[in-house]
Symmetry: C2
Subunit: 520 residues, 2 copies
């Protein structure tokens, strides 16, 4: 059962977001759920210094939890330096402010505990956003429509085991030693050849092998972004890219998309308003929408970036997973695209656990990339690189891709057919030509997080829209991935979601919920 | 042949550092050597805007290089936005200033090239320091006394191959899928057990497996450091730690060491002068000196950090490599050490190419670490973790360690005996009880970089002192590693170095060198 927000305290309710909910179906302990929400309210300045929190007894009664649960929540808030308890008087908001220059020595408290909260950087602070509140990705559901990740039951384990054994036998100790900072040369050569064969001429000297694509996002953030720099992203976009750029002080600005991707007029308007440092985009099978940019759209977006002197990072994470339609050239291969940073990964098409990705970067950046890698991770794992190279060189990647494309195409078809059958007509979705997920838009009155909480109770998991938005939004949208589950389970999951959506749409609006509601 | 600095231009020589040298024995192309040194002079404000560089013909004659080489150097400087050529008038310093807020749109130049130098962050800029000038670590010498890295010919490849095959066979596809953010649980349990057995009680819940130790330095930098934060480091210290902290804006402050490690009085003085965020240290077999802190010293350093509320990052990268003396407890295991961040790696004792390290962190930081990893690299490679775990669990790590300790102890003995035999009496060195390298101090008049240039010509490589200093210094010191070469080659290398040192000491001082010298 999901308890909607619960009202309490001296301030007037400002809206759902300021409320406290307890949800016993989440993996996060209840006391932490409470503490986290109060923390958010303090950090959002909903609660000012000196404000008295309800007594433990009061809050326990309102939230229908044990008093010890509230005690633990308040203790946690005290530990992280947000409240202070005065015996007999109550618990008060006493925010110890942490800022870039304002931290003070004295993190060793009198009681022997170390006050880390005084020392951690602002970039490490939680944003209290949906991914944290819901622990998305951490749960295990009966039907998993969340992750844009490959189905491990399809992994070509035997072929890979042979490749692995061969390279260990042939290369001996060298394969376990440090590799070069740029990556294993034969793998770079193979990748350069493959990219060139697909119409994107690339030299192996411009290729860096990374420990996955995520380190590529981190690297580009480190390389380009300074505090306050504007970064244009598709809206919605990949949430962990937002995280990677924000670590370096980026101000991500979402640019609206339509069925052909980024809307050029909107991008132009954004670029005209202020200087932008970077445009991050996924032109093919975009995450989370599955939308691909047309050739004309690609050219327009690239031209705008060139005109305004904005660097472009093109993420091709799942571009190999095309099930219909014709291949579109990456921005990198278009006229004027020579300086586009091109990011790719083996995690979506082979084995995510090997952590292998790659970045194509122009020579002007090689020196800086080498320096940054020296301090970040030295090099990618050599054994994994050599084994994947051997696997690919034997033609096993293409064989595997053909197989996976067939499986995924059927799963996508089942997903779309099931939605047609079970979703109310007010619900809309994208129909991608490839990739791993699609984007569902609900009527405005329906909150995807509410739907998710209900769906999890029934064993179905997905990623709600707010996760993918730089600046709020997406409340009535969600991403469904179709690569993890078999066809009949996808159909079953969609049927369950359809039931929830129909009930939500039928719900009378504006009627107060009977669950208790606390606003701080 | 090494050409010492060469005089030219309108300014008076200010000292060796402002000069330009060309060294054909270095792997770096000559034109880049010239460009890099002029770049340094511009960036150090030795050369101001508007200053006219010598004509290509003049500089080529002075440096005894081809005119096209100078042309390429100037073109490189123009490309990175430091000089501008006006046909018929010459080449002028025209620095395009790049600052946090000062970058402007318009990186797309009229000629179609993309001006990356306007977009890269300050943290990516080269420091023009010794590691860059000399490409340390990139060359291949006949006798390699540079890297504090393991000798691959000792790698226990057969045992590892078996462990690898076992886990792939037993775990199947799961081993190639994403692992958890914290790392492979059995490996964390094994590590926690091992640390606890060695007197440092650690829970597997406090352990994070990383893609090497370097990502741990990067992670701690990200976690704690904000622009301008003071970080205390041993002087000398590990150069890539300096790099990792500087990326996040750290101001590293070197604290003097003696034969027992950090001098507490000096640390106290530093802590009293200004607030410090972090102390980074390697209490056992410190890199580069090989020095270990005594128990009393460890307690004093920890107490100072606690008193001043400074976080401690303890790097135990090679603490398992003890050849004599008794094991010293890590700071983490001492009273009050519970909040010490403890960093370790498998790269020094097993296989660096697997890229596996680990970090012990207190619960207060787990949330932030999880968040930062989500945007940095998601997780460490699962296959590598599972294979190493199997290898360790079978007792093969301890067997291998025993073997390597024997080999390394003999190599260290040979190194020290050879130095006694061949080094002039004015030269001093540390005699570590373990680890991978030791520290040599030359008479003040001798420059270790000069010795290195000479040694490389004779096929011997080592790491010069300036590499390991946060704030200059180390000019007359160097690190010799003894883990990469066999005994007779170590002896041969030391004999060569001894010859160079004797000649340098015998050199009459203050006599001008006959090689041409250019000062800009």
């Amino acid at each position: 059962m999901c308890y909607p927000p619960v009202a309490m305290g001296t301030r007037k309710p400002r809206g759902k977001s300021a409320g406290i909910r307890v949800n016993r179906t989440l993996p996060e302990p209840v006391y932490l759920q409470i503490a986290d929400q109060i923390r958010n309210n303090i950090q959002n300045n909903e609660l000012e210094d000196g404000h008295r929190l309800p007594t433990m007894r009061e809050l326990a009664a309102l939230l229908r939890v044990n008093r010890n649960t509230v005690r633990a929540a308040y203790a946690e808030l005290e530990r992280i330096g947000l409240v202070q308890s005065d015996v007999g008087r109550g618990t008060f908001v006493r925010r110890r402010r942490v800022s870039a220059l304002g931290w003070k020595p004295g993190a060793a408290a009198g009681d022997g505990t170390f006050r880390w909260e005084r020392l951690v950087s602002r970039r490490s602070a939680g944003r209290g956003d949906v991914i944290e509140r819901l622990s998305i990705g951490d749960g295990v559901a009966r039907i998993e429509l969340t992750g844009a990740v490959a189905d491990r039951s399809l992994f070509p384990v035997d072929g890979f085991r042979e490749a692995l054994e061969e390279v260990v036998r042939e290369m001996g100790p060298a394969i376990l030693d440090y590799g070069s900072r740029e990556g294993y040369l034969p793998l770079r050569q193979w990748l350069a050849g493959r990219l060139s064969a697909h119409g994107t001429p690339v030299s192996e000297n411009d290729l860096f092998i990374l420990n996955g694509a995520q380190p590529g996002l981190d690297l580009v953030g480190k390389l380009l972004i300074e505090e306050g720099d504007a970064v244009a992203v598709e809206s919605p976009t990949y949430h962990n890219a937002l995280g990677a750029f924000r670590v370096y002080g980026a101000d991500p600005v979402g640019v609206p998309m339509d069925g052909e991707g980024i809307v050029p007029g909107a991008l132009e308007e954004a670029f005209a308003r202020r200087p932008f440092k970077l445009l991050y985009c996924m032109p093919t099978f975009q995450n989370p929408t599955g939308v691909s940019m047309s050739r004309a759209r690609r050219e327009a977006v690239l031209a705008l970036a060139r005109t305004h002197g904005v660097a472009v990072l093109e993420d091709t994470f799942d571009a190999d997973l095309r099930y219909r339609g014709k291949e579109e050239a990456p921005l990198r291969s278009l006229t004027g695209g020579r300086d586009v940073l091109l990011l790719g990964t083996f995690s979506k098409i082979l084995f995510p656990g090997l952590r292998l990705g790659w970045l194509v970067a122009p020579p002007a950046l090689h020196g800086a990339i080498g320096r940054l890698r020296r301090s970040a991770d030295l090099a990618a794992g050599l054994l994994a690189q050599a084994a994947v190279h051997r696997f690919c060189e034997k033609g096993l990647l293409d064989r595997h891709l053909e197989y996976v494309r067939g499986v995924n195409a059927r799963r996508l078809r089942v997903l779309v057919e099931s939605m047609r059958r079970h979703f109310p007509e007010e619900v809309h979705w994208t129909e991608p030509e490839g990739g791993m997920s699609l984007w569902v838009t609900l009527p405005r009155s329906i909150d995807a997080v509410d739907v998710l909480l209900e769906a999890r109770r029934l064993g179905v998991n997905f990623a709600p829209g707010p996760l993918f938005h730089a600046d709020g939004g997406g409340a009535n949208a969600l991403r469904l991935s179709f690569t993890l589950e078999q066809e009949e389970r996808i159909a079953e999951g969609v049927e369950i979601l359809g039931g929830i959506l129909k009930a939500k749409i039928a719900e009378p609006r504006g009627v107060p919920n009977d669950a208790p509601s606390v606003f701080l």
